[in-house]
Every structure is written in C-alpha cells, then in structure tokens.
C-alpha cells in the first residue's frame, strides 16, 4: 500500500482513510487522534477523540467537559486497531502528554510526530525515536541558524540578571502550556527557591502540571500584589502580556522571552525583548536532521514551518521528501491568546 493511501492531507488535516480518522484536525470531524494539547492541534467539537490522558485533561480544562462526544485515553507504547490500521503512541518530548502517532497498515509504518523536541525537559516524557518508513516532521525551526543550546544556560542568564537588578521585576514571556512550566522547573533545578509569580492566564494549566506530580515549588499569582513587593521577583506571563498595559504593575520590568525564536536578534528586537532566552519546545535544526536520520525513514514529509530548507536537506541526502501543505497550525509563541486585565481571572 502506498503511504499516501494511508495518510493524506485534506482541508480538515491529516486524514487516515483506512483507519477512518484524522490526526490533529483543524475542523470538527467524526473521529480525531490528537498529538498534544496546544490549541492549534487540539480543537473542540469532534465526535470521538483519541489522545493521551494528559492531552484529554488539557482539552477539558480549556474547552469544558463537553469538548467532544466521546473520548478515549491511550498510553505511550499502547497499540489499538482503528479500521484497517494499527495506531501506537510514543512520547514526543514536546509538552506534558505530547505524543507521536505511529500508523501502521500492512507493511508500511508512518509516524506523525506532531510537534517534538529531542532536548531534555523535566516536565514531560523524553522523545523516543520510532523507526518507520515515512516520517512526518514539523519544521518550525527548520533552518540551520536555529540551534537552541542548553536551556539551563539560558536560565542562568535570567538568574544573573535578577541578581544584577534586584530592584527590578523580571517578566518572562512564555507560552502558557508547556514552556512556562518548563522554565519554572529549570529555575528550580538551578536552585532558585523563591516564590515564582504567575499571570492569571496560566494558573489553571500550571496547577494541572503540579497535579500530575511535576514539582514547581511555590507559585503565587501576580494579581493583588503591591508594585514594590514585585521587585526582585520572577513572573511568568503569556508572551502577549509582556508588552501589554498589564506590565505597568511591575517596578521597571526587565522583559524576557523564552522561545526558540530568540536565537535571531531581529525577532527579539522586533518584540522589544530585553533579555532573550533561547528555550524551545521544538527540535532545532540539528535535532530535526538527526531525528530524521535516526528514524531510518526513506521518505520524509515536512509540515508547518520552514519546509523548504528541510526538504532540500533531505533531498541532498538522497531521501524522498516533500512539503505537506497543511494549514491551520501556528507557532504557539506568536499566536498566543490575548491576555491582559480582561482575561486574567
């Protein structure tokens, strides 16, 4: 069976005809398989949803109890049959509960990796290489200029700044689901044990991480704090809030932003970031290329991001590669929900 008869891109997302489902559909479908909880991948309104328990919980937190007609939780390493195909979930290392979906039909195995990273992350299960015939990779950071480095070093930069400017507040823009909790965990790992403050928009999801046994230390809400008392503190906030009038409650804030985009100066400057922290939940160029090699796949489908460079790289190595024209998947750092006084609860 040809790979494109097993999985093919359609308007609603990646469609598996023989299995009768879509992966991360952007429109409501009868049966959806969801890789992870970010809102561009996990949408409400599907009939049946198959995902990890964590992903289902996150969808419930965001959309309410009736986000789908029925749900089914699946564990990493667990395999189930859907129609003519077998579906198996493997950790993607992206955020808590994130999974790669291996779809096997007869002799052909396709892995849809969703979003992934191969760097260590104390808040989620580590990425696992899944040997396959066709590997579907993201390309968010699919240019050789993106090399993310050691996230712990970036957190050291943040702590050095806090030490140097004790009278200022440090405001760290970080995506609410995943990045924020990883930054907090990294701060704790670096020995920072003061309370860490949160923008109201990340309260629920952060508490969910804690409820899953991820140690994040003492967390407090910014709301209700006196300006002077925020001197010398670290606050995590959705990226859009860090340039919002919300920031006026902080004493002379240092604006940091934790994102793989911070590798490129123009991107950081454009956002008015004073302390760029190169911390990414996506694989960097070296990670993407090494993972493609490691899967042993002979055919690579490249989606959302810088497809051109990665397709070129694959082709130069003698791999069959093509961009998958899927629409509707954003870059969570850029497409963060508006936050501010109105959203903060």
């Amino acid at each position: 069976m040809r790979a494109q008869d097993i999985l093919m891109p359609v308007a609603a997302g990646l469609c598996c005809r023989p299995g009768g489902f879509h992966i991360d559909p952007v429109r409501p479908v009868e049966r959806a398989v969801i890789t992870h909880g970010h809102s561009d991948h996990a949408r409400a309104g599907h009939g049946a949803v198959l995902a990890t328990q964590e992903t289902l919980d996150m969808m419930r937190l965001r959309y309410g109890d009736d986000f789908a007609r029925t749900t089914q939780a699946i564990a990493y390493g667990e395999e189930i049959r859907l129609g003519d195909v077998a579906v198996k979930f493997h950790p993607a290392g992206h955020v808590l509960g994130s999974a790669q979906v291996a779809v096997s039909c007869k002799d052909t195995c396709i892995v849809a990796s969703g979003d992934y990273k191969d760097a260590p992350d104390p808040t989620c299960a580590p990425f696992e290489v899944v040997p396959c015939d066709v590997f579907i990779t993201e390309a968010t950071f699919g240019l050789p200029v993106f090399r993310h480095g050691d996230a712990a070093e970036e957190v050291k930069k943040l702590l050095a700044s806090v030490a140097l400017f004790p009278e200022r507040a440090h405001l760290v823009g970080a995506y609410s689901l995943g990045k924020a909790q990883r930054v907090i965990a990294l701060l704790r790992a670096a020995g920072y044990d003061a309370p860490i403050y949160l923008h109201g928009a990340m309260e629920k999801i952060t508490h969910y991480y804690q409820s899953r046994g991820i140690g994040l230390g003492e967390l407090r809400l910014v709301k209700g704090m006196k300006k002077a008392d925020l001197a010398g503190t670290i606050t995590l906030a959705p990226p859009s809030a860090t340039s919002d009038i919300w920031t006026r409650r902080f004493p002379d804030p240092v604006t940091a932003f934790a994102s793989g985009w911070m590798r490129v100066r123009a991107r950081a400057r454009q956002r008015g970031v004073e302390l760029p922290l190169v911390i990414s939940d996506h694989a960097d160029w070296d990670g993407l290329t090494a993972t493609i090699d490691a899967t042993g796949a002979g055919e690579i489908w490249v989606t959302h991001g810088q497809e051109d460079a990665l397709v070129h790289w694959c082709t130069a190595r003698g791999l069959a590669a093509r961009p998958l024209d899927l629409v509707g998947y954003g870059d969570e750092d850029e497409a963060d929900a508006p936050a501010g006084e109105d959203v903060e609860a």
């Binding site: 050789p144 050691d150 920031t247 950081a268 008015g272 070296d286 290329t289 090494a290």
Partner: protein, 631 residues
Amino acid sequence: MNRFAELLDRLAYEPGRNNKLRLITNYFRATEDPDRGYALAALTGALSFKHAKPGLIRDLIAERTDPVLFALSYDYVGDLSETVALMWPKASINHEGSLRGSPSPQPSPTRGEEVAHKLQPSHRSATGKPANPSTADAELLSVPSPLVGKGQGEGYHEHTAREQIRPDHNNPPPPTLTDVVTTLRTLGKTELPKQLARWLDELDETGRWALLKLVTGAMRIGISARLAKTAAAALGDKDAHDLELMWPGLAPPYLDLFAWLEGRADKPVNLDPAPFRPVMLAHAIEDTDFADLDATDYVAEWKWDGIRVQAVSGRDEHGNLQVRLYSRSGEDITKSFPDLLPSLHLPGAIDGELLVLRDGRVQTFNVLQQRLNRKVVSPKLLKDYPIHLRAYDLLGEGDGDLRELPFTERRERLEAFVGKLNDPRIDLSPIVAFDHWEDLRAARADPATASAGEDAEAVEGVMLKRRDAPYLPGRPKGQWWKWKRDPHIIDAVLMYAQRGHGKRSSYYSDYTFGVWTGDDDGEQLVPVGKAYFGFTDEELLQIDRFVRRNTTEKFGPVRHVVHEPEQGLVLEVAFEGLARSPRHKSGVAMRFPRINRLRWDKPPREADRLETLERMLKADSAKQAVAVESH
C-alpha cells in the same frame, strides 16, 4: 571572548542608560586584566587593526555550508555576521566529508541540562595538552569548560554522551578577547581567513557573532565611548570627568587605570601634551529665571548652531607641537578636520564652535553636517566645506591653566591669543552688547539686525555667561545660561504610533505625524516626522489611550491611528530647523522634533499643510535672517 560576547549581546538589547552602565561595570568587576582593558578599548573605539571585509566572511561560510541552506538562512536572518555565527558548523564533527557541504547533523547528544557534568571529565583531560599552548595557558584557569558540545546536535536517548565525544579531543579553549585583539594587530592579511576560521570553530554562537562584529568593525551596539568610560569610573566610585582628563594619556589594556580604580595604585598621570579638559555646559534659561538675574553681571554671545569643540595644542617631550580636536564628550575627532590643524600653531586650549564658512559667511548646521562622522576626508570635501573655529574661551595657554580665572579675564587672554594666531580659520565669537534683558530679548528675536548680520541663520539663540565665572566642568548652576530662539511650530496629525522601549514598552510613545498635501486626487496626509518626547507623563497616558482606542490597523509593534479630516489627534510639534530630504516622502526632514502640546481642540482638517513647511524651508535657506513662522 565569550564573556565579552555575552556583554555585547546583553547591551544590544538593553535600552536604559543606567542599566547599560550597570552591565558594563559588572563586567569590569568580574573580568580579569588584560581582557577587561581590551573590552574597554573595544567599547571606546580605541582598538585599531585592519578590518575584515564581508567578502572574506562569505567565502569562509561558503566553504562550509550548502549554498541553498545558506541563502535561505541569510534571507531569514538578514545580517551576514549573525547568519554565519549561527550556522557555522561545529569544528571536528565535520570530518569524513560525508556532508556534501551542509552543516553537520551528526548526532552528538551533548545538549541539555545533563550535559555539563558528563562532559567535564573528558574535557579536563583533554586540556592537559592544549593544541596552542601560547594562547591557552591563561585561559585554562579561568574557563574550565569551554562550550564543547554545548547546544549542537541533539539528544535522543539510545546513545550516551560518552560514545559521542569527539575523536579529536585536543580542542583548544576558545580565544580570549586578548588573544583576538593582540593577534589581529600583527596578523598578515593572508593569514586572517585561517585564523578567523579557527576562532569561529572554538567559540559558541554569541562568541562568533561578537567576533565577526569586532573584526568587521561593525559593532554598533549603541554604546558611546563616554558611557563605557563612565562605567569604568564607577568601578572605583570615581568621577567620569577624572577619567576623561587622563584618558588621552592611557593606552589599552589600561592596566594602570584599573589598578587605580581598584585602589591598588596611584592615579595614572596624564603625560599627554594635548589633553582634553572636561567642558563647561549651560542651563536652559526659563522666563522666571530672569527675575533673580542682574543684567550687568552677564556677558552675552551668540549661540552658534555648530559643533562644540575643544582645540588643544601642546608640546611633547621632543618639543614637537601636538594638536588635537575633542568633541564635548572628549572624543578625539582630530582626524576628521585635518584642514584646521595647521591653524592651531601655538600651545593653548580653545573652547569654541566648529562651523563651515563660505565667503566669510557661517553656513547652517545642515551644511556642517556633511563634515561629520566621515571616515575618509576627501580633498573635495575639504574644499567644498571649509571648516572654521569660532573661539569663545581659552582654558590654557602654554603651560598655564586659565580655568580658575574669571570669564572676563579669560576673554581678554582669548582675544590676545586669537590675535597672535592670526589665522583666517580662527576668529572670536563676538560679544552681543546689551544693557537690559529687553535689549537682549530683541537681539535674540532678530540676530540679523543685532550684529549677527548675514550669519544670523546659524544663530540658534544667545549665551549668557557670568563675568566672574571660572571655567567649571559639568553644568554648574547660575554660571552659564543658554537662551534659545523660539522653535518652529506646526500642527500635525498623528498617523502611526509605535511602542517604546524599556520603561515605555507598554506605551505607544513613538509617533509619526503628517501634514496635509493636496493634488487633483484630493487631500491626503503625508508623514513629515517622528517624535518620541516633549510630552508629560500624563500626556503620554492620554495619547496611549487614544492610540489604543483609535487603531485602524496593526503591523507588529506599529499601529495605524485614525487620521481623517474630522477624526484624529492633532499634535503641536516644535522643531529646530528643516532640511530637504530625498529619503522622506514629503521631501523635508525636521531637526529635533518634539511634541509641544496636544491639540484635542483642533480637528485634523485644520492642521498645517506641506506648503507651510516648504515656505519655512525657503525662509530657512534664504539669506534673510529670521525664518518667518506661519502663525
């Protein structure tokens, strides 16, 4: 080098002056000699070596990367040094020629939180035999873990770090700033590419970026020499003026300076025969100040719209005359004005204004501007823009320091000194006679008829100097006053607003404004300038609110603000002058524009028109003295 690179990196993003100071001082405190000295030299522009051309950098990266990937990356990043710094392949992973030119994707799971301790043991054993002992010794002690394996590659978990350690574990540590600077000084042109490649192999991303900026001479990180010196002075709680005074006698890596700043040695003596002296500055006078001032205590001069300069001549130990020109911040600008140097043929220190004179007439600042910030001073430039020094104070003569003398005595000495120089390129700034403040007010309003004559165009107001004032550094209260002419004023319409930086990053504080222009297609607004100050904190809040409520479109940090004939915000904009500018759509550029007042009362249709600016421009460039304001 990596530490200096981190400093540059942080400075590049930090908008606040005081925060920059703190970052630099902190670097000086944490960094050893002589690295910090070379850093100070780099920040003050005191390093000299032949810069590498961008072509060389391009060649280096072309040898190492796939051209398509480089083109895509360069296109994305937009800056050559940065692109090369980011995509430079890790050294020594790149063996075996397996890559067909593309950056290495080889797995080396040495990234991530657990990397450091895994790598350290094997690295330490590696450093026992540095490849380049001459540069490595000092660095080994201070940088135990050069960024081997940091960042690159990836880490899936079947492998262990140990299997992946590079085969050639003889990697030298990254170069120190001292290594780089001292090597570049003596390096031949043909050796440069190889040496540069070696350094790029050894440094991390930020280090490579800083190195490339340094060797191409394109640092541009928004740090003035003055700021760097102030930061150094702060290391020892010293006044930046003291440092400025001794600066011309100091040389990189400034070991004596840092020893003094840290209290380990006496103050370095400035042996410079032509040193800079900290300048005396004036306060802007307000109408209310006159009540307490007695007109007879003061002498008035025209305030010339040129460049404040200190012209110093002195004899060195061989008896040769050394001549230097300093900007008001103490920056040595001698090289830019070779045409003035022969005129300064007697030992002395003149405080004055640099102007361009043609046929004995002072040209406007716009003309003078052609002479500023030039790397190469061509004969044509010297001929077309002849430089002139208008002297208004004498700080020293021969070996004598005159700064303690009262102004009137210094003035007498100055008149005699300029007389002795007897050079057409140097003249005296004339005294403006007055008995009462009202006389001076009239002279200020119409300098042309009040003795400035045809030079009136280059007069931007009057200076008041107390007759008994000694020459004091800084801005002492009540000694010197500046009384500027009233600025030009127009009413313009707010068109776009952009968020500010630092403290203002949540405010729309940078405003683009326009005036009306019309053709057959109807009336439209054309942008004529940008302003980001002049308003009060309260007004900033009001404008910010207006911008947020009246945005029609958003482009990243920029907002289109409604600007229709009946709907929009009129800003009263004050500015100092106008110049023709082909770079602006309107064809004019404003000097020193600022928001004077918010005209909530005025509908946009009543704002000024481009023709008003055109008229001002004509009046400005006409020989007539007073630019007529349109209202």
